[in-house]
């Protein structure tokens, strides 16, 4: 998993923009048809320096599929889905 060396994955997600955060959740590229860039997404330094508790932009995620599906149908919007397990090596509090 690609992560900046100086911050935890959870706080990377805090500090990085949405797209970088999604790419930070990258797993192995086995079976990938499209080649991945060898480099990590560039991160503007001012975003890296954003501290927890600041107003760094974040995704507003629906936590329940049925809510998201219903809202997508009602609003006629497409769905961006990214699942994750709220545990790191069995410990809660970190993706």
């Amino acid at each position: 998993m690609s992560q900046p060396k100086t911050t935890s994955p959870a706080h990377s997600i805090l500090a990085w923009g949405f797209v970088a955060a999604l790419f930070a959740l990258a797993g192995p590229a086995s079976g990938s048809v499209i080649q991945r860039s060898a480099e990590k997404p560039s991160v503007p330094s001012k975003e890296v320096e954003a501290v927890p508790g600041s107003q760094a932009e974040r995704i507003a995620w629906f936590g329940r599929w049925e809510d998201a599906r219903a809202e997508a149908a009602r609003t006629r919007r497409p769905i961006l889905l990214m699942s994750a397990a709220p545990q790191c090596s069995g410990a809660p509090g970190m993706w």
């Binding site: 797209v19 999604l22 790419f23 079976g31 508790g53 809510d67 497409p78 699942s83 709220p86 545990q87």
Partner: protein, 252 residues
């Protein structure tokens, strides 16, 4: 970020709900045939039609962040003229899970507690007005309930354990709207701010701002976090077996 705002973004918790796990498995199955920790896909508004190949992550599907952003912009074009505003409050199902997710993201958890379903619906509607504003979108998670908080391990989703014993989260939630610091493992919630159930949106904005300012989660590395969890004997018992675990086996 801007591209994602046009989409209904959903992050199912992978091993916490059987129906959702079935959906994720139908969207993506790796060579192992088991449900992976993470699944990524972009779907049409019917929730069925895939707009791109699915994978474990965007990096398996797109050649970089810019390519994903461009794809999202292009795919939204046919929806652009018909799309309506998102209004539903994005809730997480269970208290222990909501605390855990808020802890993972390093954001406060906002709890809505009402005496009746009717009152709760009214609170959710007011909170939703705020939740999708530019200032608040994604800045906290939400959990809503009436009655009492369920005991850990009895509500059909995961819970934390110390050793083999489920952690009973010691929190006496008042009626109204309470913003919590979930703590580093989502086990020690502390009140950051509170507002009455009938608080107007303007006051709520101020209260949530206060919560944001007061919230200062401890920054820790993955290694430090894991070490501290092991030291304290803290583990997360997901509702379903984690088939993509660190050693490829269920934590159960």
């Amino acid at each position: 970020m801007a591209a994602s705002r046009n989409y209904v973004c959903v992050r199912p918790q992978t091993y916490e709900n059987e129906a959702e796990s079935g959906l994720l498995k139908s969207l993506f199955r790796s060579r192992s045939g088991e449900l992976e920790n993470t699944v990524f896909c972009v779907l049409a508004s019917d929730g069925k039609t895939k707009l791109c190949r699915s994978g474990r992550s965007p990096a398996q599907v797109f050649d970089g962040a810019d390519a994903l952003a461009q794809f999202l912009d292009e795919q939204f074009q046919p929806y652009h003229s018909k799309a309506r505003a998102i209004e539903r409050l994005p809730l997480i199902d269970e208290f222990a899970l909501a605390l855990n997710v808020a802890s993972c993201d390093g954001v406060p958890l906002v709890i809505l507690r009402a005496e009746s379903e009717k009152d709760l619906a009214a609170m959710e509607k007011r909170m939703a007005e705020l939740a999708w504003s530019e200032a608040c979108a994604g800045q906290q998670h939400y959990f809503a309930f009436t009655g009492s908080l369920p005991k850990p391990g009895t509500s059909g989703s995961g819970f934390a354990k110390v050793g083999e014993k489920p952690v009973s989260i010691d929190f006496d939630c008042e009626y109204g709207i309470t913003a919590l610091d979930p703590g580093p493992f989502g086990l020690e919630p502390k009140t950051l701010a509170h507002a009455r159930a009938d608080t107007d949106v303007e006051t709520l904005t101020r209260v949530l701002g206060e919560a944001q300012l007061a919230h200062d989660p401890t920054e820790t590395s993955r290694r430090q976090h894991g070490r501290e969890a092991r030291r304290q004997g803290i583990t997360w018992e997901s509702e379903l077996p984690a088939t993509d675990g660190p050693r490829g086996r269920s934590p159960r």
